[in-house]
């Protein structure tokens, strides 16, 4: 510090001297206001030149005030700028080719793409437009290689599955790290109202996608290792919009409205069909029991007289979507700003859920002096969800409509709601459900940046992600949850606070034209504080009194957990002659979740890149405009998703009896618990040919995750069910290919195509023993060494015997009987490949964009079929039409066996008891369906009003558009929609379809106006 002060003083003295020599300060940026690092700024006609620093800044001494600057940068059009007496200016370069030459925000630094040694996908905010989804990560579907995005349901603001290069873990988190304007944001589900076994909300729906400038997805070890313990599942860096210096205010308003409906609806057999099936089951069961069927009383004397009540139509509606966006951005000579406001309301196509969101954003930067810059990003969001239970909850809205038998009336004779079995009345639910979740989210960052020397910058950043979810649920006496208790209410307050402080010291220098160096060191201190309070009340005087304070009995509880992380990191890169780049990094993390001896983890990485297109022999080929090869290797860690106190041996409180507090053993100690580590190798190439018309990126990766933080099932006789230990390994390897082609670039007509495809193969390399789980204890999902995660184990149905009508299953262990040992892995919920095809066309004032998304090779376990094709064994459950395909008489060839409820001799393969019950218990591979599909995810058509007209109205830009989502889907899946994951609460139970809201088909119209 002592030496810096005099230095500073020198700088201050020197500054006015330069001014007299026509000193010029400036900055070179892209149109997106991202600084261009290493751009050449030359005074025209002289040898005076400068390279821009790490923030795009430069200083020059000009021969005179009227000089002209030539600014050039690979991949951007060279521009000439007249200084015109100015002493500072911002120069914006326009991209020359979209393929190779963006600047890329990697971990803690901004780099030229050509110097990048890792695998990073960049998506601009512009590319996110067009689909009516509330969250930006959902919008990445089909747009980036190595990223698999699946919406778990069609509920607006609902949960999604987002994986970067596969599932790397089993019990620790498999979600990537999301960094928004430098803030590590939480992706933890905050909603606690039990609504089935699905991830209920997408916490990232708190961000308005329209605020986003760009998204970078860091995939390989070199790019992610700098995030150390947080980077193993990839890193998604979101940069929101900021203003540019010296630009006048631009105010943009965007208004759209949309209508959604269901492409397919649930189906049920009619009353007469149901009666016929029930009778047939009774007759067959009698035969199986050795009883003369003519002696039994049929459940229905004349099924054809049974009525049919339609419940399913009551579920669906044409759902509205309204979206309003208003933003202002601009800047003065010293400061820039972006301010945005948005409102979104989306209804679910299945009543009664909906989602409403208000966001406010304010991003501000101020250059306090030439050397000190201060800025902030601030996002405040309020969300409102009308929460409705589905999936595996029998008293959920969908289950209450699709499960009751269709001949049963919806209302009793006295007009009250009729109920059957465990199910509620769907109309009672739709009309009375009163579950509200109101979320407040603040994501804020304040930073100061100090250019100590031209090549040395210190940045300190203080971040906060505070989310607060307040849920109030009231079940009145008209729905089953409130009948017995005379009304029951619950209130949950959930707080999740993440505090992050970072310091980064960056050093950049170029030596001549051939050597470019950059290095950084930094540290991070991170705290995650989760707190919650619950209050419940039961027994209300009337349905109009809903406050817990007036309930007959009330209960309360609260919880708190704190986890901390301390990290130090460093990174260095060297580029020689624009041809070779070497990049190394090291990060050390210590987590409070682990014991004192095993707390620290070290995560190094290294990568090299060779820009072959700068070699003369490649240039001589005349084929490649760009050609680059890169390779990287490194380690990154994972500790997310395990409990804050996971390593400690604990006795939990709360085991109370007789109004006395009790304790009982809850967790076994594991002193050795430490980081789960992923080692990743990535080899890639990027090239463009045909005068930059076709750009190609290809990557191969191999990720090996070891020391898995695994909840190893332990024998129940220990008094525990699982033990968290570092055991096991998972491998993901794959190939990613992305193409960008500018097919036609005419004056009036332009057409470009983006295609990407990602192959991933997942395999559990090491596991202590099989872990079976899923489907509410039916253990249909299994984790087994040698197989991929998310495998399904079922009894493999070979055929239905045409003579007997009984199902025959594969006898895996060949012991002649059918037992649980004969279950086997028959499929997997992970697709073999996923990808997208985007076409963008423009003709004069019209633009057209459409995206096909596809995935292939994944299976879906249809719990819908499992329950509703039950062969008569379920007295309170109806049927779906697939049950009508059952075997009826000798000679029938079908995969749906003969109806029976007989349960004797459950080990006999090909016997009647295993048709629907028995040892197989309906866990037959006949309900495992192909989930591959190709979908026209989005198509949008826009018209930009000609400038001549717009100008006359005093506007800058006006575009009107119509867009549609999910217009076409090609699939063999027989359920409502193949994009579904009803058991997504656990990452290891993907691929179930179970009474879930399908993806909606949406048509939207909108207009965007810029003042």
């Amino acid at each position: 510090m002592n030496r810096i002060l005099p230095l500073l003083f020198l700088w201050l003295l020197a500054a006015p001297l330069w001014a007299q020599q026509f000193a010029l300060r400036g900055k070179v940026t892209t149109r997106e206001n991202e600084p261009l690092v290493g751009a050449t700024v030359r005074v025209k006609g002289t040898q005076t030149a400068a390279l821009t620093d790490g923030y795009g800044g430069f200083r020059l001494q000009l021969p005179g005030p009227g000089s002209v600057l030539q600014v050039s940068y690979v991949g951007f059009s060279t521009v000439e700028v007249e200084v015109g007496g100015r002493t500072s200016l911002t120069i914006v370069l326009e991209t020359d080719s979209k393929v190779l030459n963006d600047v890329v925000i990697t971990g803690y630094s901004v780099q030229n793409r050509k110097d990048i040694v890792g695998s990073v996908t960049r998506i601009s905010g512009e590319d996110l437009k067009g689909t009516p989804a509330a969250s930006f990560n959902q919008l990445l579907q089909g747009k980036a290689t190595g990223v698999q995005v699946t919406s778990n349901s069609g509920v607006p603001g609902g949960g999604i599955t987002f994986r970067v290069r596969g599932n790397n873990s089993i019990n620790a988190s498999v979600d990537p790290l999301y960094v928004i304007d430098g803030v590590f944001v939480s992706n933890t589900e905050p909603i606690r109202t039990s609504i089935g076994n699905q991830q209920q909300s997408n916490p990232l729906a708190d961000i308005n996608p329209a605020d986003i400038e760009s998204i970078q997805i860091l995939k390989d070890a070199n790019a992610t290792a700098i995030y150390g313990s947080l980077g193993a599942n990839g890193v998604v860096i979101v940069t929101t919009k900021r203003g540019s210096l010296n630009t006048k205010a631009r105010i943009t308003a965007n208004i759209s409205h949309g209508w959604s409906d269901a492409v397919k609806k649930f189906r049920a057999t009619t009353g007469p069909e149901t009666g016929t099936l029930v009778n047939e089951a009774a007759v067959n069961t009698a035969i199986d029991r050795g009883v003369d069927p003519s002696t039994i009383t049929l459940p229905f004397a004349d099924p054809s007289k049974l009525p049919t009540y339609d419940r399913i139509s009551d579920l669906f509606r044409v759902a509205g979507t309204s979206s309003y966006d208003l933003s202002a951005q601009g800047g003065t000579a010293r400061s820039t700003y972006f301010a945005g406001f948005s409102y979104l309301k989306q209804e679910s196509i299945v009543k009664p859920s909906d989602f409403e969101r208000y966001t406010v954003r304010f991003n501000y930067d101020n250059h306090l002096s030439d050397k000190v810059k201060l800025g902030n990003s601030l996002n405040i969001t309020r969300t409102y969800r009308n929460v409705s239970s589905n999936d595996n909850n029998p008293t959920g809205v969908i289950n209450s409509a699709i499960f009751p038998r269709s001949y049963l009336p919806v209302f009793n004779d006295d007009g009250t709601y009729a109920r059957s079995g465990s199910f509620d009345n769907h109309l009672a639910l739709i009309r009375n459900l009163n579950n509200n979740a109101v979320g407040w989210r603040t994501i804020a960052n304040l930073y100061a940046e100090w250019a100590i020397l031209p090549e040395l910058t210190l940045k300190s950043s203080w971040s906060l992600d505070n989310s607060d979810m307040y849920e109030n649920n009231y079940s009145n006496t008209l729905i089953s949850a409130g009948i017995a208790t005379k009304g029951s209410a619950a209130s949950y307050e959930t707080k999740n606070l993440i505090l992050t402080n970072e310091q980064i010291l960056t050093w950049r220098k170029s030596f001549g034209e051939k050597h470019r160096l950059h290095a950084l060191v930094g540290n991070t201190v991170n705290s995650v504080i989760q707190e919650s309070t619950t209050a419940t009340g039961q027994g209300f005087a009337t349905n109009n009194l809903t406050s817990i304070s007036v309930a007959a009995t009330t209960l309360g509880s609260s919880s708190r957990a704190v986890a901390r992380l301390v990290s130090f990191f460093g990174k260095a890169g060297y580029t020689f002659d624009n041809r070779f780049t070497l990049d190394v990094s090291l990060r050390a993390d210590a987590s409070s979740k682990f014991g004192a001896d095993r707390r620290w983890g070290y995560f190094p990485s290294a990568g090299v890149a060779w820009n072959a297109s700068n070699e003369s022999f490649v240039k001589d080929l005349g084929v490649f405009n760009e050609l680059k090869f890169r390779a990287s290797i490194g380690l990154s860690g994972n500790q997310n998703g395990i409990g804050s106190y996971a390593a400690q041996g604990l006795w939990s409180s709360g085991s109370n009896y007789l109004e006395t507090a009790g304790t009982s053993p809850s967790q076994l100690e594991n002193r050795l618990l430490t980081w789960e580590t992923t080692r990743q190798v990535d080899i890639g190439t990027e090239f463009s040919i045909l005068n930059n018309r076709l750009g190609v990126t290809v990557d191969y990766y191999n990720k090996y995750t070891y020391d898995l933080l695994l909840n190893v099932p332990v024998p129940s006789r220990s008094g525990f069910t699982t033990y968290l230990q570092n055991f096991g390994a998972v491998r993901n390897k794959g190939v990613e290919i992305a193409l960008h082609s500018r097919n036609i670039e005419g004056r009036n007509f332009r057409w470009s195509t983006d295609f990407n495809i990602s192959f991933n193969r997942n395999k559990i390399e090491k596991l202590a023993s099989d872990i079976a789980l899923g489907a509410s204890g039916r253990n249909i999902s299994i984790l087994r060494q040698g197989y991929a995660v998310n495998s399904f184990q079922l009894y493999k149905q070979l055929y239905v015997d045409p003579q007997t009508g009984n199902a025959v299953y594969e006898d895996v262990n060949k012991d002649g009987i059918l037992t649980s040992a004969d279950r086997q892995i028959v499929g997997n919920a992970l697709p073999r490949f996923t990808g997208g095809l985007t076409n963008t066309l423009s003709y004069k004032q019209f633009d057209l964009n459409f995206l096909f998304y596809f995935q292939e090779g994944n299976k879906i376990m249809s719990m819908h079929d499992f329950f509703l094709v039950h062969g008569g064994t379920q007295n309170f459950i109806g049927f779906i039409p697939r049950q009508l395909e059952r075997w009826q008489k000798p000679g029938d060839v079908t995969d749906i066996p003969r109806l029976t409820t007989y349960s004797g001799a459950p080990t006999v393969n090909g016997g009647p008891s295993n048709n629907y019950g028995g040892n197989v218990a309906n866990q037959s591979s006949r309900y495992l369906l192909d989930g591959s599909f190709i979908r026209l995810r989005n198509v949008s058509l826009g018209y930009t009003v000609p400038q001549s007209i717009v100008k006359r109205a005093g506007l800058t830009n006006v575009r009107a558009y119509v867009q549609a989502a999910n217009l076409l889907t090609f699939t063999r899946f027989t359920g409502l929609d193949p994009e579904v994951s009803s058991q997504s609460n656990s990452q290891n139970t993907a691929g179930y379809d179970w009474a879930t809201v399908p993806q909606p088909r949406t048509v939207q119209v909108g207009v965007s106006v810029t003042l």
Binding site: R3, V525, T553, E659, A661, T663, S716, S903, A921
Partner: protein, 442 residues
């Protein structure tokens, strides 16, 4: 200069001690090492053990004891109950899993108390209280192993708290006899250590240990011992048969009928009623009284006043043994004095003391306002006792275990394959425990 900046960096973060910053512990749990160290923690531990008995007795164990037999039928949609009703239970049945894990949790709590409470040096924990806590732990462990043995047969005997998974290795299943021997050994200790007062019915007492012991001897066919221990309990004036029958399952609970029941409250709920009540009353109606038991209970000559176990009419009959639908505070009924009479009746009948046996049986029938039984042969008396058990404990954890212990499940229920008289060990235990041998047939 760079070094200085680094120092500055670290100083900026305000970190004086990294390690101290990274020490975090929960505010709702105790470290295992200090879980049982003084009077307060010892008391909390035994309370926790009772809470864990509630964990498996609130709904799962009574379901296992009834559904596979003929009094309760499946009327819902959850296949784990369907499997129990059909006697086609798979290893991943959620109810058997819940009970199996729940019982071993009790056993681990009890083992911890038995291991650590004797070593506590705390003036606030006198030897009397220490003995009581230990006696309760021995009793709960006995109860746990007894409930395992009658459900699964001989099981693996864990007698030490689990501190390290390595301690589990090599413990194979014991025989059924060895398992019952362990139950007996624990009951002997419990009886010795436990206190006895005139009112306690929801925490272990000497007489509760004796009652369980009478039941154990009955299950093992040790008729004289069964009779002797039943007589000891019946002779205790703390207990009497309440009349009318429904009094014992009507709030206020803890009637003199009750030898051992687990108490619930609005802070600690038992919502088992939910599985019995029809959905129009807010329940799931998964468990329904069978047509045969409905007919028997409603027959004045068989059920008598025990018809009060039923409500509803026609096809909407439902069981109301668990009936606090507004507050969910039904007790778990583990041992009623009525059972001791029927244990003694059966033990006496087996020893051919038929008159005394019939006398005991008729005490139960008289309480239910049913005419006295007057059969003469040993077989008839035994049959009458079996039938009486079925209606007296229609919805408690009795019928299935009675029919399997007497070898009658084949004849009465048609479950002729004896393999299915015991439940399968949970799938995940079979996968994770090389020392566990699955029951045959699963």
């Amino acid at each position: 200069m760079k070094q200085k900046l680094l120092t500055l960096l670290v100083a900026l973060t305000g970190l004086t001690s990294c390690d101290k910053y990274l020490e975090e512990s929960p505010n709702n749990a105790l470290p295992t090492a200090s879980a049982i160290i003084d009077a307060g923690t010892a008391r909390a531990a035994i309370i926790g053990a009772y809470s864990r008995v509630q964990g498996y007795y609130a709904s799962s164990y009574p379901t296992l004891g009834t559904m596979p037999a003929d009094n309760v039928i499946f009327n819902g949609t959850l296949s784990q109950y369907l499997q129990l009703d059909q006697n086609a239970v798979t290893p991943d049945n959620a109810v058997t899993l819940d009970v199996y894990q729940g019982i071993y949790r009790v056993i681990n709590s009890a083992n911890s108390i038995i291991a650590y409470v004797p070593g506590i040096q705390d003036p606030n924990l006198g030897s009397t209280e220490k003995n009581t806590i230990l006696g309760e732990a021995y009793f709960l462990r006995a109860l746990g192993y007894f409930d395992l043995a009658r459900g699964w047969g001989g099981v693996q005997l864990q007698l030490k708290p689990t501190a390290d998974l390595a301690d589990l290795k090599g413990i194979k299943r014991s025989t059924l006899d060895a398992t019952y021997d362990q139950v007996l050994a624990d009951l002997v200790k419990a009886e010795e250590l436990l206190p006895e007062d005139a009112t306690t019915r929801n925490r272990a007492q000497k007489s509760i240990a004796r009652a369980l012991r009478a039941r154990l001897h009955l299950y093992r066919g040790q008729w004289a011992d069964a009779e002797a221990y039943a007589t000891q309990v019946i002779g205790n004036t703390k207990y009497e048969l309440v009349k009318p029958f429904k009094n014992f399952f009507t709030s206020p609970f803890l009637t003199k009928e009750s030898v051992f029941e687990l108490t619930y409250s609005t802070n600690n709920r038992n919502s088992y009623w939910n599985l019995w009540y029809p959905s129009s009353l807010g329940g799931q109606y998964t468990l329904k009284p069978s047509a045969s038991v409905t007919q028997k209970l409603n027959d004045p000559a068989i059920g008598g006043s025990r018809s009060t176990l039923l409500a509803g009419t026609g096809s909407n009959v439902y069981g109301v043994l668990y009936n606090t639908s507004a507050t969910s505070t039904d007790p778990s009924y583990l041992i009623r004095i009525a059972e001791l009479y029927l244990i003694r009746a059966e033990a006496r009948a087996q020893q051919n003391k038929l008159t005394a046996a019939v006398a005991d049986l008729n005490v139960i029938r008289a309480r239910a306002d049913v005419a006295a039984f007057s059969g003469a042969t040993q077989a008839a008396v035994l049959q009458a006792i079996e039938d009486e058990n079925s209606v007296e404990f229609a919805f408690e954890a009795h019928r299935w275990f009675d029919l399997t212990r007497t070898g009658r499940a084949g004849a009465v229920l048609g479950v002729t394959d004896r393999n299915y008289w015991v439940f399968p060990f949970p799938y995940q235990d079979v996968l994770s425990d090389p020392d566990l041998e699955q029951n045959p047939g699963y």
